[in-house]
Every structure is written in C-alpha cells, then in structure tokens.
C-alpha cells in the first residue's frame, strides 16, 4: 500500500492515464480537473505532494501555488508545476518547488518526487 498521497491538477484524460501509469504503483494519486477543486481538497486533506498543470479552469497553476504557499497550513507541501507552457520563471515566482515541461520523463519525474518527499517538512 503506497504511503504517500499525491494530488494532481490535470484535465487531460490522456495525460491522467500517462501519470497513473508512471506514478500509480508507487503512490496513491488523486486527480482534480479545476484549480478550485484542487485547492479545496488540499485545504481539507493536505496531501504529501502536489503536481499541477498551469492550464486549469477557475484557478490556474500559478494561483494554486500562490494560494497554497501563502497559507501557513499548506506552505510546506511541495508543488511541482508540470505543464506544456514554458513558464519556469513565473512558476518559481509563484512558489513552485520544481518545474517540468511536458511530455513527462518518467524516470526524472519519479526521482524528483522522491527527492522532494525526502526533504518534506512539517507544517
């Protein structure tokens, strides 16, 4: 039984399938299709790590980062922005811990997640 829970902000069903394939065996994963749904879920049940696309309705990936990193109860949760947009600088400014461009490099993504989970701090 995977011990870590990862929330993923991703609307594209094909990308959801790919991420399930890459991460599903090692981690417990939950998908959210809007930024608002992701943030609400994080506030209710904080996950161990968040991966999010920038392009989400209601609240984009930048605002998700800003909102969660500005809250004392959620700022410790590592966030990976995983997107098609070349927006690393803006993602870092918004508070993202890591930035990856799609399409995914499975080995790189898994290694980075492991690294972030090791460094994880408490609220």
């Amino acid at each position: 039984m995977p011990s870590y829970h990862i929330f993923i902000g991703e609307r594209d069903p094909f990308m959801q399938r790919t991420l399930t394939h890459i991460l599903g065996e090692a981690y417990q994963i939950s998908f959210f299709e809007t930024g608002q749904a992701l943030v609400s879920a994080v506030q209710n049940t904080p996950p161990d790590l968040i991966i999010t696309e920038i392009l989400l309705p209601e609240m984009d990936g930048f605002r998700i980062c800003q909102t969660l990193k500005n809250s004392p109860t959620t700022r410790h949760i590592p966030i990976i922005i995983f997107t098609w947009l070349m927006a690393e600088q803006r993602a870092r400014q918004a508070g993202a811990d890591l930035f990856f461009l799609k399409p995914p490099n499975a080995a790189h993504l898994l290694k980075s997640i492991q690294g972030l989970l090791k460094q994880r701090t408490s609220p």
């Binding site: 609307r11 594209d12 069903p13 094909f14 990308m15 920038i54 392009l55 309705p57 984009d60 930048f62 098609w84 947009l85 070349m86 927006a87 803006r90 799609k102």
Partner: protein
C-alpha cells in the same frame, strides 16, 4: 454603414481585408494541413484579447491542445501573461471522442455562455462535423450555433482543413460571413504559401492570391502588388535626370532621362549593366538625389568592390545616406515578398533614383507564373512613377551573342519608358561593347549604335557610332 473592424495583428492581412476582420462576424479559416490556419487564429487572439475582452480557444481532436501549445509558444507573438488571464483554452478532444459532434457543439455553446468571449476560435471545426454520425443532427446543431454566434458580441474564427475545390459545397461555408483560404503548395524545393479572402460579407477586400510566409514572428502576408484600379494623378516632371556618363546624356538622351521615368538596360551578361546603373545612382549624389540600389545578384560587399574598381566613392555616399543597397537572394523570396521589402525600403529611404539589378533575377522568384511577373513589374514601375522616382531596370538578354533581340523578360519592353540595348559586337576579330537607345517614350532620341567603353581608370563612356553593329557575326566598322 461603416463596419467596425478588428485588426488581426498579422502584417499584410489587414491591408487585404481593408482594416481587419468585420467585428462580430463568423469567419472560416480554411486550408490544407500545415498552411498556417492555427497560427493565423492564434495570432489574432493574442493580438486582440485582453483581460476585459477575453479570447477563447477551443481545440478539438485534429490537434490536441497540448501539442498546439507546445508549438505555439515558439512564436514571438505568444504572450504567456495572456494565458489564463486574457485567453482561455478549452480542449474538447476527449469529449468529442467519447460522445459526438452534436454534443460537442452543445458544449461549445455552454462555454461561450459561461465565458462570454469577445474573440472565439474553434480549431478544428471540421472535426466536430467529421465525428458526427448523423448529418441532419449536426446540420441543425451548426445552424443553431451560427444563430447563437450571430447574437453575440463575439468575433469567431472557425478553423478547418478544407480543399479549395470542395469548400463551397460545405455547410460551414454557408453559415459564415467570410472565408479565408490558406494554401501551401510544393514548388520544386520550396513551399509556395498563399492566402485568399474568398468571401467577406458586406465588406470590400483585395481579391485574388497573395503571398505569405510563416516565421518565428508568425504569419506574414504580402499583399499582391498591383496597379491601382484607377490611374493615380501625378505631376509629369519636365526635369531631366542625367546618368553622368560621358556621351550618354548628350547623344542618347539629351540632358538625361525624364525624372519619374523608367529605363531598361537590356544586354548581354558582362556588358556593363551594373556599372552603368551604379554610375546613374552615384551621379545623383552630388546633385542632391538619394539612390537605392536593389540587387539580387551582387551582395553589398561585391557591389562595393565593383564600385571601388571604377574609382566610385561608394563609402562616402553610403555614409551620407545618399547611396543605399538592398540585397536579397532571388531564390529565397517570393515575388510579393520582394515587393514588400522594396516598398518598405523605398518608403524608409525616400530615394529619387532607384536601380533594380536585375529584372531577370526577379523573374526567378516568380513562381506564380509569367503573367503575374509582368503584372508585378508593370505595377511596380507605375508605383515608382507615382512616387516621382526615376527608375533603372537591368535585364539580361536571353542568350549571349544571340542573333535576334530576345529579352529574357519578353514583354518588359512595353513597361519601360526608355530601352537601352547593350550588346557585344565583333570588330576585326575582337568583341567590343556597343549600345543604342531602342526607344524613348514621347521623346526624340539618337537611332545610332555607339561603341561603349568601360575601363577601370576612366569608367564608362560612349564612343563613336558603329555601322552594322547589331548584324551579328559580320564585321562591324566605325562610321
């Protein structure tokens, strides 16, 4: 009633649509894959959408949104700060694959109502139809969507892969206010891109095919250079423009050619057309004329070296801004792209004298046929005339030492006001340069053939008249 127009942000397209796309209209952007439809639509959105007047890009299955964004970000017009704040992206691909076109159109209507965009793109609209099983149902859905769009304060681009031949028979063509057709045809080693406005309801536009290209900056349209439908009024100058070549201005054209006229230097390769044209431009510098040398043959370094060999002070003239060079490879650009570059340079520099060296090279860039080439040269000559520019065109003869007067650009002779023929002639076992004024429009001129000397020390000069000069392979004698 004046139709309010939305500028597209695409250089040249606003010119052919007389200011942009009609506001609140629905237009079909059609063409074969790779012709630039999505680029056009995306450029339009990024140019116009703001956080208050938002844009909505709905992608369907023909190009998944992910891949679309991946490539669109490479363009200079892609402004990341607009994504999510002024432009919203929705992907109907999965919805369409699971359900059908009718259901997808319902979803489009929901999105429009929710987001109230001022600018909407559906790419590809055709996929909505292709993935619908029931023709009658999808037709009703399309008519409903068209009626819905017509009631909104929204300018819509429906993007689709259609062939020019089958487009008029599609239902999409009947519901839209305008159609823009993009083309991309292979032409030997390069692709020949073109754009046409086929229909623009209630609005005038520049009909016919225009050249276009896609670069890092996005789509750029080169409106087809053509003569204005009604002749422009211009003042006929009574001023003479001398070539500054000894003998030339006295014997051939007393005092020089008329200001605002065009002169064709037609001749054998290596006969001295470039040197003659250079003299014409540089002679204008001390007289206060600014010159522009448009060359498709010699790059600026080579041209400067040629001038140096003849002791022509190009450097000082260039530094003073009175001598300018525009160089472009004839094989890399399309005719209308050349026209755009030449017009831009002429507008920037405002020259009184312009040389095009050579027309035959420009002909190499004319992939759209000879008729288009002559139409272009005529239009360009007229345009220069209207600007008061004195123009010299060079033209290579069809073959070296040809025994008849065949111009490479047959038909050009009808375009120029003056034609100077330059040829090699044989005299006592040697080839000599010879030239004659074949015609001058509305002016008397010498009918004689003169020997033409070009030496590095003295430059070009006109010599004595020759007899039988252009009867080839017969001995020519001095008169």
């Amino acid at each position: 009633m004046t139709i309010f127009r939305i500028p597209t942000g695409i250089p040249g397209l606003d010119q052919i649509t007389h200011g942009g796309l009609p506001a609140n209209s629905t237009l079909l952007v059609s063409g074969v894959p790779g012709s630039g439809k999505t680029t056009l639509a995306m450029q339009f959105l990024f140019h116009n959408a703001t956080p208050t007047d938002t844009g909505l890009f709905i992608s369907t299955v023909s190009e998944p949104q992910a891949r679309l964004l991946q490539y669109m970000q490479q363009y200079a017009f892609f402004d990341l700060s607009k994504v999510g704040s002024a432009i919203y992206f929705e992907d109907l691909g999965a919805h369409l694959l699971e359900k059908n076109g009718d259901s997808a159109i319902h979803r489009v209507e929901e999105l429009i109502l929710q987001q109230q965009p001022r600018y909407l793109v559906i790419d590809s609209f055709r996929s909505l139809i292709d993935l619908s099983g029931d023709t009658a149902v999808i037709r009703r859905a399309i008519f409903r969507l068209a009626a819905h769009l017509a009631s909104l304060n929204c300018t819509t681009l429906l993007v689709g892969e259609y062939q020019a031949e089958t487009l008029p028979n599609t239902i999409e063509a009947t519901i839209v206010d305008g159609i823009i057709l993009l083309q991309n045809q292979p032409d030997e080693l390069r692709d020949l891109r073109g754009i046409r406005v086929i229909k623009l309801r209630g609005s005038d536009y520049e009909a016919g095919e225009h050249g276009c290209k896609i670069t890092h900056a996005g789509l750029q349209v080169f409106p087809r250079f053509r003569t204005p439908p009604t002749p422009q009024v211009y003042t006929v100058s009574s001023e003479r423009v001398p070539f500054g070549i000894p003998g030339f201005d006295d014997l051939l054209t007393p005092g020089g050619v008329w200001r605002g006229s065009s002169t064709l230097l037609a001749g054998d390769p290596g006969i001295g057309k470039t040197v003659t044209a250079l003299h014409f431009l540089l002679n204008g510098v001390p007289l206060g004329d600014t010159g522009l040398y448009i060359t498709f043959q010699e790059d600026p370094h080579l041209l400067r070296r040629i001038a140096q060999n003849f002791h022509l002070d190009v450097q000082q003239a260039e530094e003073s801004g009175r001598f300018n060079i525009l160089y472009a490879s004839p094989v890399e650009l399309e005719l209308d792209e050349h026209a755009y570059a030449m017009q831009t340079a002429i507008r920037d520099i405002a020259p009184q004298r312009v040389v095009i060296d050579s027309i035959s090279d420009l002909q190499a860039a004319s992939s759209r046929g000879q008729h288009r080439f002559f139409d272009f040269v005529y239009s360009f000559t007229q345009w220069c005339k209207n600007q008061g520019i004195t123009l010299v065109l060079t033209n290579e003869m069809g073959s070296i030492f040809a025994n008849e007067l065949t111009f490479t650009g047959h038909g050009i002779s009808h375009i120029a006001d003056n034609i100077i023929l330059m040829r090699y002639v044989q005299m006592r076992g040697e080839f000599h340069r010879a030239l004659t004024m074949l015609s001058t429009r509305g002016n008397d001129h010498s009918k004689k053939v003169y020997e033409y000397f070009i030496s590095e020390n003295e430059g070009p000069r006109l010599g004595k008249p020759l007899l039988n000069a252009f009867s080839f392979f017969r001995e020519t004698e001095h008169a």
